[in-house]
Amino acid sequence: MAEQNVEILTKIVLEKLMRKQLTGISRVTERDIINNLRNLADITIAVTERCNLNCSYCVYGGLYETDPLRNNRDLNEEAIRKLFNFLSDYWQDRVKGSIISIAFYGGEPLLNMKLVKHTVEYLFMTFPNFKFTFRITSNGLLLNKYMDFLVEKSFKLLISLDGNRFHNSHRVTQNGKESFDIVVKNVDKLKEVYPDYFEKYVSFNAVLHNRNNAIEVLDFIKNKYGKKPKLSPLATDGINKENGTIFNSILNKNSILPGEYKSFKDEEEFVNSSIGKNIRQLLSTIGMNYHDYSSLIYSNSRNEFHTGSCTPLRKLFLSADGKILPCANVSHRYVLADVHELNKIDILAIADKHNDLINRFYNSVCQKCASITICHTCIYSRDWTGDGEVGHCRHLTNINQLISEQNMISRYLASYPDAYFRLFNFFNNG
């Protein structure tokens, strides 16, 4: 045991974790995946790889190690038809009124608006009994051209804007010109023409880097649009080693630190921040946080090692080159199927592959980890290294690290007791 000071909450967490013995390794069956397909309610479609911006920090740009084959491919109508033909077999018994979320992604999805429109019409026509909700993430450059359609179909629109002109200056066009004026002009027009839609459906995302900071970005977007943007740090995984120096010059090392508690201007951002997640995990370990009401009375006595990965096809990502992946955040090496060959999909093999991956990580890495029973790391994420082979986990924790982490959460709560109540406000009254 470590010699460091152990806070009271840390002591309680450690006692709980010691008592929580794993009963085995969770296994996904073919039937689980079929049930996921029957219930599938979260689909993301990358309609194009093309983009009309060339942001310095783009995860598909030179700073990162990207899929070498990624270029300017567009998805087509046939891929959409094939995907939903395949899913329709699983959706036959689905209850009338089921809600299915479709997110359009890119590149810049408005560059393939023809396919976005086609998909929306196709879904309405093919599945009249379901309720579709649409989301799109856009850089806003073409918003003037397509806003009527987005408003008509009640798209939830996430606009990427890093703050004022200087804050936004990493977001340049393919010719190297700043995008700020055009984007702001388009967003202003959207707000003026469709004020109700703007109020209800539009949100912003700002990436934090060396030319902005959380407080200034929050102030700018709040003052200009009355909205609280989501703040995202630069992705720090998968950096192309040759460009490490350039990356470091762009990185804002102070982007979102737990100490910046006051920068969380609303509950949602706080809840989803790393400190928010840590407090939620602490509550869960102590027995104060449950996924749903029925967990309070229908207990699951099994306590299996499962990591934070979703079981395959609980979400679905269709890439612009027609590949089906577990979600938009995972590497191309985890392709589950090709949309044009869904008749050959081998669900048992997908289950086996998933189980095999979990087993391999368990045996080589996770068994050594003090956080094994509270792990939320996705095995498909870039938090794992080793190119799909068993490698190193960025979250591998020894007992001293676990104590330090838990002590940090305790001290955070001591400094900001309000954090605890903001969490409850969000979930119970949010």
Binding site: I8, R94, Y420, F427
Partner: protein, 404 residues
């Protein structure tokens, strides 16, 4: 000066000061000048008069941690008990000048996406037919107190119930109870079982024990063809030898026995069957046996404090009705109930998502908790079980001997 620093400043005199820190699994209940500290890990209690320090400690914003001087500790035996019984810790201020924190116990249910709400539905009871040839005493009131068969005019066509049940694989349902009437007179029982066993959920068939001999051959055939358990419903008084004979016939199969008792004599008769592990004894109110209930079912203080109620159970009592939550009953006319003593909440032709959503948000059945005025003023409000059907039938709010 922030209030917290100010408090520290105030205590900076010659007296020894200490942090009293309560563990997060200890609940503090304050009612009418009395306080109950309840350790949900051990089931132990500490009672005390409520004082200023306890009220401060109970404030969620103090994070279960309070600075007190040694005078308070000397005078107040409750803090000594807290330390002795390991309900919390005492930390000298000189060893820890930063406020140590614990957490006030509160239950967080993480927000659920609308489409996930259907996973809150866990148990479905389906009355396929209300027809029955028996003339049991209590047929018109027993089912209002516990899950039991009863007569009703309708029979539900198989295709109608089949089209409703399509949502099961997409839901949290893990158990289907099939009741009647006389369920084995349902003409499509084979088709029905064939259909629902595909869902890989637990199936239970409820049958009155007096119907066993009439349907013995059919029952044995069903046992051979489908995976289900049989729940035999037994009214008191029953004939012991008849039941023993039935037990022998079904010893190879999954059978549970539920016996109703409405008096001490019934109870003594019923416990003769207690060698059977699969036996539930259920008290029943028949309109004449209130004293039996008052003496044997109503709780007193000792019953409550001697039962170990976990943190999870306390949260459940505060948020949901543990008797009805996650359960729906479908009648043969297609009506859906969250509680058969109340009005229907929809029909099988309605959107099941909407029915569940309404129960979760404003449901007077799934979310019925102890907030009547008697319980509101009681120290044991959240240690007590959720309101039950007995309370509705007896028309009482609290089935206990405690008068706050």
């Amino acid at each position: 000066m922030p209030i917290f620093d100010f408090l520290i400043f105030l205590t900076m005199d010659n007296k020894e000061t200490y942090w009293v820190v309560i563990y997060p699994y200890v609940f503090i209940f304050n009612k009418g000048g009395k306080t109950l500290f309840y350790n949900s890990e051990t089931g132990e209690s500490i009672f005390s008069e409520t004082n200023r320090e306890i009220l401060e400690l109970s404030k969620p914003e103090n994070m279960y941690s309070l600075l007190v001087d040694e005078n308070v500790l000397t005078k107040s035996h409750v803090f000594r008990q807290i330390i002795e019984k390991h309900f919390g810790e005492l930390i000298p201020f000189e060893k820890c000048n930063k406020k140590p924190v614990s957490i006030y116990p509160q239950c967080l249910i993480e927000r659920q996406e609308e489409e996930e709400l259907i996973f809150e539905l866990k148990e479905l009871t389906i009355m396929l037919t209300g027809e029955c040839s028996l003339k049991c005493i209590g047929c018109d009131y027993i089912y209002k107190q516990c899950l039991w068969c009863h007569k009703k005019a309708d029979v539900i066509p198989f295709n109608r119930i089949k089209s409703f049940l399509g949502f099961i694989p997409l839901s949290g349902v893990s158990q289907i109870n099939i009741i009647g009437g006389d369920i084995l007179t349902y003409v499509s029982i084979d088709e029905f079982l064939l259909y629902v066993t595909e869902f890989k959920v637990k199936i239970r068939i409820f049958l009155h024990y007096e119907l066993v001999n009439k349907h013995l051959e059919k029952l044995l055939k069903l046992f051979g063809n489908y995976d289900f358990s049989l729940v035999l419903l037994i009214n008191s008084p029953f004939i012991y030898e008849v039941l023993l004979e039935i037990t022998r016939k079904f010893e190879k199969f999954k059978v549970n026995y539920k016996v109703l008792v409405s008096s001490e004599k019934d109870y003594e008769n019923a416990i003769k069957l207690s060698s059977n592990d699969n036996l539930d004894i259920i008290p029943i109110y028949n309109g004449k046996n209130l004293s039996f209930f008052v003496d044997n079912v109503f709780l007193n203080k000792e019953d409550i404090i001697n039962s170990h109620v976990s943190m999870k159970e306390i949260f459940a009592h505060k948020l949901i009705n543990t008797n009805t939550f996650g359960k729906l009953v479908v009648y043969p006319d297609g009506q859906i109930f969250a509680n058969v003593n109340k009005s229907p909440i929809g029909t099988i032709d309605d959107n099941i998502y909407k029915i569940i959503q309404s129960q979760l948000i404003e449901g007077s059945d799934w979310r019925s908790i102890r907030i009547n005025k008697e319980c509101l003023n009681c120290l044991f409000q959240w240690l007590c079980p959720s309101p039950s059907d007995y309370g509705i039938v007896l028309n009482v709010k609290n089935m206990c001997h405690l008068s706050p």
